[in-house]
Symmetry: C3
Subunit: 413 residues, 3 copies
Amino acid sequence: MAPRYAPSLRYRLAPLLLLLQLGFIIIFAFFAEIQSKADVDGEPVSNIYPEFQDVNAMAILGFGFLCTFLVRYSFSASAFNLLVAVIATQLALILNGIEYHRGKIMLDLRSLVEAEMCTASVLISIGAVLGKTNPVQLILISLLEVSGFILNKWVLQILLKGHLMDRIMALHIFGAFFGFMLTWILYRKGSEQRFEKEKFDKKTGLFSMLGTMFLWMFWPSFNSVLVDDGRKLGAMYSTYLALAVSAVTAAAVSVLSSPKGKLNLIHMQSCILAGGVAVGVSTSVIHQPWEAMTIGFAAAVVSTIGHRYLKMHMLLAFQCHDTCAVLSTHGLPGLLGWLAHLLLQIKDCDDHTMAIQFAVFHICSLLITITLSLSMGTITGLLLKVNLWRPTQDKKCFDDQAFWEFPHLAALK
Amino acid sequence: MAPRYAPSLRYRLAPLLLLLQLGFIIIFAFFAEIQSKADVDGEPVSNIYPEFQDVNAMAILGFGFLCTFLVRYSFSASAFNLLVAVIATQLALILNGIEYHRGKIMLDLRSLVEAEMCTASVLISIGAVLGKTNPVQLILISLLEVSGFILNKWVLQILLKGHLMDRIMALHIFGAFFGFMLTWILYRKGSEQRFEKEKFDKKTGLFSMLGTMFLWMFWPSFNSVLVDDGRKLGAMYSTYLALAVSAVTAAAVSVLSSPKGKLNLIHMQSCILAGGVAVGVSTSVIHQPWEAMTIGFAAAVVSTIGHRYLKMHMLLAFQCHDTCAVLSTHGLPGLLGWLAHLLLQIKDCDDHTMAIQFAVFHICSLLITITLSLSMGTITGLLLKVNLWRPTQDKKCFDDQAFWEFPHLAALK
Amino acid sequence: MAPRYAPSLRYRLAPLLLLLQLGFIIIFAFFAEIQSKADVDGEPVSNIYPEFQDVNAMAILGFGFLCTFLVRYSFSASAFNLLVAVIATQLALILNGIEYHRGKIMLDLRSLVEAEMCTASVLISIGAVLGKTNPVQLILISLLEVSGFILNKWVLQILLKGHLMDRIMALHIFGAFFGFMLTWILYRKGSEQRFEKEKFDKKTGLFSMLGTMFLWMFWPSFNSVLVDDGRKLGAMYSTYLALAVSAVTAAAVSVLSSPKGKLNLIHMQSCILAGGVAVGVSTSVIHQPWEAMTIGFAAAVVSTIGHRYLKMHMLLAFQCHDTCAVLSTHGLPGLLGWLAHLLLQIKDCDDHTMAIQFAVFHICSLLITITLSLSMGTITGLLLKVNLWRPTQDKKCFDDQAFWEFPHLAALK
């Protein structure tokens, strides 16, 4: 039986992709310029290319394989992740060009890395709706979210003159709340009784572990790649230590909070990353290793508890079905990092007035980010509900078969 | 029942490997020299070691896991890939030494990378006969093809004074046509009705996706590692953009050309790489990002259509069974890159005479490469047909059991 | 039925982890200092960060996935590996700080890499008891072994003034003998008839292959990262060549020694690394490529034969059940590297007295290392036998279910 919505990919996905791609090529043809000077601001290329590749590996392999755990949705998870990533990166290059360079799209390693960071916020969000959207919807999400995130960066710069790093690292909070709103609006009746296919098996769990490992290993590059040379190594060590502490703490809290006193695989895959998120958000004010480690400790506690209780609570009480629990993985640690940033900065201020001024600015920047992400999430969610995109039927959720042809699949599973 | 050809590995593979390896050691003992000076031509080591490792990861992990998709042939695919890679690299180091350094085998990062590029052409070719050859045959292929490829580089240099990069990047065309010829000569009757074991399952498909991701991510390093410093970053960005465009385009064309309007996994694994191939072949004349993106677009279209129609057509009409469809993955995009090179170079010529001269040279270099690859492929194919190597029986094709002992394999699946 | 030892994780693992982690944070708060100067000894950061990430990938991905081959123990293998790695690294940072910097924990890339090398010796040892210990025991092992290994480094420095590289590269010998002793003391009756669950399947075998590939690829970084700039590239090439030779030789010997003349997957996963081990131990005296290649050849022969015969012999004759055969993978090649070091150094000595003096020193350093590793292994083994840690029951060995909760595991395997 041919599924009813089968044509949707042909008549919607293919034209959308082709139009977008041709549009991007035309825009690049008129506005893009290669910054081929090896030394940008006296920094030789070798300093940043390996880190660019680390960030690249996180975006493509890390996020791509982290989401393969669903037993029947692994191909879609990894391939759509790639598709979303390349579209979001191209759009982010263009929009960042408009923001910084007066309409010129400058291509250098820094601009590529910055574009991939905007992409990361999209990859976080789509974790919340993993398995419940079709690729057309995913591409719309990526277009709207990249625009929203860059708008947010721009607003923060205009209104509050925030540091570049702080504005970019808002990606965790932005992505998490965007995804949260999205999945709340796209709620499907019956999600309380878990979907039949929303399961993992031992092998897909291992693929997911592989993705986690890539994220975990390369997070120090992610947090330090855009930091100035003097503080770059500090950011790297801080992130490394915070991640190490997170791994230990997540295991401990997972066991403590388990009714049977056992470890939970999802916690060992998501919560061990919490330290990287939190330190990333507060990286510009961390000066001591123990600060990073304490933040990593707290982030892992918050994240694991969020995974254990918040996810289920949100589903039952708020009808918000967050497949990858991005709110607990990126949202709560991100907020904690924000708080740590506030406290550490105030501690460093000699002056009362400056401290208060900073606090007001910092709180405003959070409020702006959350407001923008929630409102962009709402707009996107409402747009995606339109029947035009042929949303996946409930019984076809979490299933590769809706999108892939398998001519030569072995019969044995 | 002990399979009849079981002894072949012991009496053929083991002596061949040992003899080859001892021979290589002796040659290295007399002729190899470490170029331990950190700065070769004023270029510090740090500039190229990370990229060397990226190329290494492509050869070992990328190609190795890309070929694991066959459900019963994953161990052989990844392990034989490694075996072929290390033998081909050692031979390429020796032959490149003869070519460039008057019989001295110089060991530095550039010579290692160059040897791995020669190896890449072998790894491409063996994709065409994947599952249908035994390891002895694979090693013979690697010896003959490396020799052929280096002969080709040498002929191009002597006759046409081609650029090093252009001569090396002919590897895609050389490898594809070599593999094509090989699999045509080694055709097995009955291939039209797909072999029973020539299938993938969901987990091996994911391993294959992993290999693809490594190739996709690190391709910018592959295309730029040997480029001079001034143009290195440009080659990197071009490749990155071309790959991004390829991914989007391959998805679109795959859906458009599918009878059911669905995506095809093989296309999302092979055709997203087409942009990297095409830009690699034409990298020395690409100056604008949009040129790279357009080439990536065209390459993905050609490659996906090739996968959809050409592979089956070649099997039924020409009796050529190309397991990994290397002709569509590397051959057609390579030719397209060659064409783009020609057009872009002519566009840049101010002078009519120079343009014609270049065109003649460029066409000659293609003809030489194709002729040499087809004739070396023919020679190799005929040699492999000799019964001495005990070719794998038809019913043991695509099966690990012919080559591996499994004493403690779990009974379940 | 709730397993009887289920509570052990909650009441033992969680408090242990939390106490350790909080303790580490407090120690770091008082003694750690970031060495944020980019140039340590005139060496720019870019020279070593990519290699640090390679070593990191080996520790986390390489060792983690190498051990996933057991069909029901993959989650534990990869996750416990991470847990042990981060705890061992933090402890090693602290103890190295006490050793070198008079109580100051200096954080820079070199100290991180050195800490990860100490960690590597633990990751080797736990391969010997893979599947037969609970996480509490693994953490005790990591604490005791890191202390033992750093004690060994310190003793070698005080007594024999050994080179830093030689002292660190003793990690293979130290780890292998420590693990050997450990598994001998923790012997479980009935191990002669292989445990029911001590098996691999085709997919876990591939994950294991993935881990191997990461180790194999990045081994040149592992052996060269701490070497001084002038000799760094030489160490890299030597390791690369030795690994290439090992891969070829291991395949040949595996086929030769197989009753059916077939390849063995375990050999292709462990023995291809033997060259890296042996060259690592002798790296400071290797000046010619052929020396490295010959060492790689001999190491692969020894390691493969060890795998084929020694493992079974040790189990039946000595009642020592070494799950990953670390004695053959790291122990024998390590000893061979030690011997090669001795012979090459003596060959280079002009003077008889100096040669004898070196030989005495070199033999003493081996004896010290083995004595310390065996005695620390004995102490650790005896400590682990205490019932307090609730050792895993025999029938729950090699089984994830003892440690993990699986709420949403798909029923289909």
